[in-house]
């Protein structure tokens, strides 16, 4: 079987739809992961022993179980318990929450390196605990965490292809569909691979430039 350009062109709209879905899924997952991770880190550091252990257990579970197993659990097992959600929602939630666990470690590391003096200073200035977190600690922690967090966004973009397993029309799922419909797999899978790699390039370049700028700013 050789390469057929006409066929390749004919499946492009289908694949480009997958590209759009992939980008949307990546943005949604990243939002959950970045915000949820910060929340988890704050809970872990402030909610006493119970909060600490609860987040620790969650982190261990999400880091020790493959995403596919969690996706299947969300897709097939949750309806049995009575939680019925569309595949896309399950997928975004699972990916988002799993990477929130990873991101929370990053935030926690950053929060721990903030000198105690800053907390003391906030207390001395009469800032409420909320103002201290909101205006002092979180902005510093977020800035310190940015390079590592950006790395996780890149990972999330790549991992979004896993959502094809529960029928979310990401790029890989669209390629598989195109292949089924015409019994030609060479073109859809090859174009998909090239698209995934190409879309990764601007992300990596941006990350590199960002890290350089950060390194230049801190020195």
């Amino acid at each position: 079987m050789s390469w057929d350009w006409d066929y390749a062109a004919s499946i492009m709209p289908q694949l480009l739809f997958g590209v759009v879905v992939t980008i949307l899924v990546t943005i949604a997952c990243s939002a959950i992961a970045l915000a949820g991770g910060l929340l988890m880190a704050i809970v872990q550091m402030n909610a006493g022993r119970a909060g600490h252990y609860a987040t620790r257990v969650l982190q261990e579970i999400f880091r020790g179980v493959p995403i596919l197993v969690l996706l299947y659990f969300g897709f097939y097992a949750l309806p049995e318990i009575g939680v019925l959600l569309p595949g896309a929602v399950v997928g975004i939630l699972v990916l988002g929450v799993v990477y929130a666990a990873y991101c929370s470690e990053v935030y926690r590391g950053a929060l721990m390196t903030i000198p105690v003096g800053l907390r003391d200073a906030s207390a001395a200035l009469g800032l409420s605990p909320f103002a201290m977190w909101h205006r002092v600690l979180i902005p510093i922690a977020v800035r310190k965490s940015l390079p590592a967090l950006m790395n996780y966004v890149l990972v999330l973009y790549k991992q979004s292809s896993f959502l094809f397993a529960i029928g979310v029309p990401v790029l890989l799922a669209q390629a598989q569909l195109a292949g089924y419909q015409s019994f030609r797999y060479l073109e859809p899978y090859t174009i998909t691979g090239v698209l995934y790699v190409l879309m990764n390039v601007p992300l990596v370049l941006y990350q590199r430039r960002f890290n350089l700028r950060l390194a230049a700013g801190s020195s």
């Binding site: 299947y72 659990f73 097939y76 097992a77 060479l186 899978y189 995934y196 990596v204």
Partner: protein, 242 residues
């Protein structure tokens, strides 16, 4: 839940398959990582550039994309053979994991002071011996901990092989689910088994880390009986006023 007992042999088989794929691809990944990592630090610009491009390419998409492409699309190119799903899985996992591992190897090698390599060269050691006897053993102290978390990722990545027809733990679980409909039990059980595999991997790498030459030397130097060692005594007597 009691109905699941009869599937135990199948689950054991799946677990064994997953574990063997994990072990083989972690070993393959280590080899690929060392080759690519060393090549990335080569003085030869062509080798350096080639290794860099391979690493960036393999890190550009998820392991799933490469697995699908190699298994479903590559055999359609005329003249290329159709490999078994198991072989394709192990090769793809090793290559993609190796690309991530190469970065670990590069930063590990960078952490070894240049003087070490220069001193070995001055003593007349060949380039190969300098790498395998002097630089790598020291770099391993940095490499192994980072590689441990990559290995845990690899254990989890093995679950993708269910898509190319390998009867691993996850695909056995999917089959049991379609037979018994006891979804919650099946997936909780499988999650637990994967979790245990990850724990085992983590424990294994901790043992390796413990037995690394540099770590052993550091430990020996910090144990209490090192204080009675003559060399330290001499240093002490020199340092303190009489």
């Amino acid at each position: 839940m009691t109905g699941l007992i009869e599937f135990l042999p199948a689950v054991g088989q799946g677990l064994l398959t997953t574990a063997s794929i994990a072990v083989l691809s972690i070993v393959g990944c280590a080899l690929v990582a060392i080759v690519l990592g060393v090549a990335r630090r080569s003085r030869n610009q062509v080798v350096k550039l080639a290794a860099g491009s391979i690493v960036e390419l393999l890190r550009g998409a998820s392991v799933l994309i490469y697995l699908f492409w190699v298994y479903y699309a590559l055999p359609l190119v005329p003249g290329l053979p159709h490999f078994s799903p198991l072989v394709v899985s192990i090769v793809v996992l090793s290559l993609v994991g190796g690309a991530y591992g190469a970065e670990i190897v590069v930063s590990g090698l960078q952490a070894v002071p240049r003087g070490q390599a220069e001193a070995s060269q001055a003593l007349g050691l060949s380039k190969f011996l300098t790498l395998t006897r002097i630089v790598l053993p020291q770099a391993l102290t940095q490499i192994v901990p980072a590689f441990a978390s990559l290995a845990i990722d690899m254990v989890k990545w093995t679950s993708v092989v269910s898509f190319v027809g390998v009867q691993d733990l996850l695909s056995v679980a999917n089959t049991i689910r379609t037979i018994t409909y006891s979804t919650v039990g099946v997936y909780v059980g499988v999650a637990l088994l994967y979790f245990l595999l990850c724990l085992l991997t983590s424990w294994f790498f901790q043992r390796i880390e413990h037995s690394l030459p540099l770590n052993r030397a550091l430990r020996a130097a910090s144990t209490p009986d090192a204080r009675s060692c003559p060399a330290t005594l001499v240093l002490k007597s020199q340092g303190s006023p009489p």
